[in-house]
């Protein structure tokens, strides 16, 4: 029973972190049709910035806020000063298909290298703001701490805010419109470029939050979030790249599958399990579980 409860709880908390990464990836995909591999680099860089703030100010929360804000700024900056020039230059020839992917991969490499230059490769730590000791549930201690709970709450709040933003505000409407039909949106007076940059900023903020929630349970080093990128991407694909809800659902499905198989079958099968889920989903629904039926031209 203890094992089951632990598995459920750890699935929820790991699923939550995957959800943040997959949300970030989906946000960028919807606005720019690009898989932003640099997301892992952005997230870890903003986490390093958060680490510096935490070390200097002594407060985790200030560091968290700084990480989220710098994540947004970094995301916006990358769209404005990196992706847009690339799209402008590369507009003919078969390279158009893969140039953005390759560009974000290259950006990931550059960011991680720069982190190595500045901070070195030693592992750093960020102290969690609240206890990381196991909680007592039904009389026994499980491997789920108040901090894990905080992660779950933070992600849920983020998702609720994003949903409200997208469904109930004008900006949200503009974001959805620009992603779905950019020409029509432009004709309606929406500044599509600015809106797209906003999408990148939101994604960057989500990544920054993910980093500050993930690293206290682990160590801080340039490649620390690479595995999150992989899982976030798989989760986004499972859920259907066009759907934010799909991103979260996919992340949860993945989190549960991975943790349960690790707990009950073998920890060695974590990645193969993820791959299996992915291939099964895509064989049935090649565009993800929650994708809308019709295909778009864009």
């Amino acid at each position: 029973m203890n094992q089951f409860i632990t598995a459920v709880l750890t699935s929820l908390s790991t699923g939550a972190i995957y959800a943040l990464m997959s949300i970030a990836l989906v946000l960028v995909w919807r606005s720019t049709r690009v898989i932003n591999f640099a997301q892992a680099g952005q997230a870890i860089l903003t986490t390093y910035i958060g680490y510096e703030v935490v070390t200097r100010s002594g407060s985790y929360w200030i560091g968290l806020i700084c990480a989220v804000i710098s994540g947004a700024l970094l995301g916006a900056g990358i769209d404005r000063f990196f992706m847009r020039p690339i799209f402008k230059r590369v507009n003919s020839g078969p390279i158009v298909m893969i140039a953005p992917v390759v560009a974000t991969l290259a950006l990931l490499g550059i960011i991680q290298a720069i982190i190595g230059f500045i901070w070195g490769l030693s592992y750093q730590t960020i102290e969690a703001p609240i206890s990381t000791g196991g909680l007592t549930i039904f009389g026994s201690i499980v491997a789920f701490s108040p901090f894990n709970l905080m992660v779950l709450i933070a992600v849920t709040l983020s998702m609720i805010s994003l949903t409200i933003l997208f469904q109930k505000t004008n900006i949200g409407l503009a974001l959805r419109a620009s992603a779905y039909a950019p020409e029509i949106a432009k004709l309606s007076g929406i500044r599509v470029d600015a809106v797209r940059t906003l999408g990148w900023a939101l994604a960057g903020a989500a990544g920054g939050l993910a980093g500050m929630l993930y690293i206290p349970g682990s160590n801080l080093y340039p490649n620390a979030m690479d595995v999150l990128l992989v899982f976030g991407f798989i989760a986004a694909v499972i859920g259907g790249l066009d759907s934010l809800f799909g991103a979260v659902a996919g992340a949860m499905i993945l989190g549960f599958a991975v943790n349960f198989s690790a707990s009950y079958i073998s920890y060695k099968l974590v990645f193969p399990t993820a791959f299996l889920i992915l291939i099964v989903v895509l064989l049935i629904k090649p565009k993800g579980v929650f994708s809308s039926g019709k295909s778009r031209s864009a």
């Binding site: 094992q3 490769l121 000791g133 690790a262 060695k268």
Partner: protein
């Protein structure tokens, strides 16, 4: 069409020509022995500098270099200065293979010293063709007993007691200690030759664990896995004995998982010598209260024991040549190996050759001065270095004090079922100023 193939052939030929020009320019001047000149001896090290194992063992080459700097400042070895080339292999077998090959082919070192890692170095030894090129492989930093097999690794000399030896002595210790003998015992080990060597050692000693060993992939022990394993073990009645056979970073993960689950006092912890370095555990974030009372084996004096003549001498060298690095067991290990290396080079004489170096260790190695509290066992028929351990208990400050107050050293071998025997070995006095004068 024609233009394309002409263009293609032109580009092929130009590439070939460029490559040819490049390679012609690198024809080496043929030296008698690689890595050796009238003024310099080049030695090579391959081990983890970055990555999780690098956090723990990254300071090893720096410690060796500091000792070599000290020797160079005091005249070098027979007039030659020692230069250490260091390559990072991140504890990955494949990278170790290419880096060691680079040390031999690219950096052209005279000998390797202190290569670290079982799976990494066993791969690297074969890939870099050390046997074929007769490259001496001194004082390999691993307890894998296989390296002492001179047929398979003809140029290698081990230094650490093997994991099989350690397991046998651990088994004896558990059996002889009244508080531990009746408890159930479990083994959590690294899933490669390192861990398997330990498993075999326990078998040789006739020790049976209450369950099959939990094996985790080298470098891949996640917090979740550790928590899961410990949760399962928490159901065992009494105070089980947990033996941890792995690198220090993995030991840290397991101990931190125990902290999270409030299971620290549930078990008696026995950490292997490789993974039980208290200072590193504390540096990796394990709480002092957690390591208090944990048992660990060692064959060195405790690195914090400034009354020990070897430790104090090395501490001086560390302060002078290795600024900013705190002195711990890893630094002690590095400097000790460096001191043995210098003695080996001296013993090989001024007319230094690779074959001569190997012979020198075989014939004189057992009499070298070293910080170990157990003897070195080099001979014409043995590549085994240290062969014993003493057991101690850690306190909150990370100091290892002899268990029960009395230092009892035991020695044994890696392959027989005979029980460890008490050792009465006395160390040679530390060379004056830390500079050996042997020949």
């Amino acid at each position: 069409m024609i233009r394309n193939t002409r263009m293609k052939r032109f580009s092929i030929v130009s590439v070939v020509a460029t490559v040819g020009a490049l390679v012609f320019s690198t024809l080496p001047a043929q030296a008698a022995e690689p890595g050796l000149s009238a003024k310099e001896i080049k030695l090579g090290y391959s081990g983890p500098l970055t990555g999780s194992a690098g956090q723990v063992y990254g300071k090893l080459p720096g410690a060796m270099k500091a000792y070599f700097d000290h020797i160079n400042a005091n005249g070098g070895v027979n007039g030659r200065k020692i230069k250490l080339v260091v390559r990072d292999d991140k504890y990955l077998p494949t990278l170790a293979a290419t880096q060691t090959t680079n040390l031999v082919l690219n950096d052209k070192v005279f000998a390797l010293v202190g290569a670290l890692g079982t799976a990494t170095h066993s791969k690297a030894y074969v890939a870099a063709q050390l046997a074929k090129n007769n490259v001496p492989d001194l004082f390999v930093n691993t307890g894998f007993s296989g390296f002492a097999n001179a047929t398979k690794y003809p140029t290698a000399f081990t230094i650490l007691p093997s994991y099989a030896m350690e397991a046998k002595i651990m088994a004896k210790f558990i059996k002889d200690t009244p508080t531990l003998a009746p408890q159930a015992s479990f083994l959590i080990a690294q899933d490669d030759e390192f861990g398997v060597d330990g498993v075999n050692g326990f078998k040789l000693a006739g020790h049976s664990f209450a369950a099959a060993p939990t094996l985790y992939p080298q470098g891949g022990l996640s917090a979740a896995l550790a928590e899961g394993a410990l949760t399962k073990l928490s159901a065992v009645p009494g105070k089980p004995v947990l033996v941890l056979f792995g690198t220090t970073d993995s030991t840290a993960v397991i101990l931190k998982a125990a902290e999270k689950l409030s299971l620290v006092s549930k078990f008696t912890w026995i950490a292997g010598s490789v993974g039980g370095d208290a200072n590193t555990l504390l540096a990796l974030g394990v709480k002092p209260a957690t390591i208090n009372g944990a048992l660990a084996a060692s064959f060195f004096p405790d690195a914090k024991d400034a009354t020990d003549p070897y430790v104090s001498e090395f501490m001086k060298i560390n302060t002078k040549y290795n600024k900013g690095v705190s002195f711990d067991n890893v630094v002690l290990q590095g400097m000790n190996s460096a001191m043995l290396t210098v003695q080996s080079l001296r013993a090989a004489g001024k007319n230094l050759t690779r074959a001569g170096l190997i012979k020198a260790i075989e014939s004189k190695g057992a009499s070298f001065a070293s910080a170990g509290l157990v003897p070195l066992n080099y001979s014409a028929s043995s590549r085994v270095g240290y062969n014993g351990y003493w057991f101690g208990q850690l306190n909150e400050k990370g100091e290892l004090k002899p268990f029960g107050g009395k230092l009892s050293v035991y020695t044994t071998d890696s392959s027989s079922t005979s029980a460890p025997t008490a050792s009465s070995y006395e160390r040679k006095p530390v060379p004056k100023n830390g500079v050996p004068t042997n020949s």
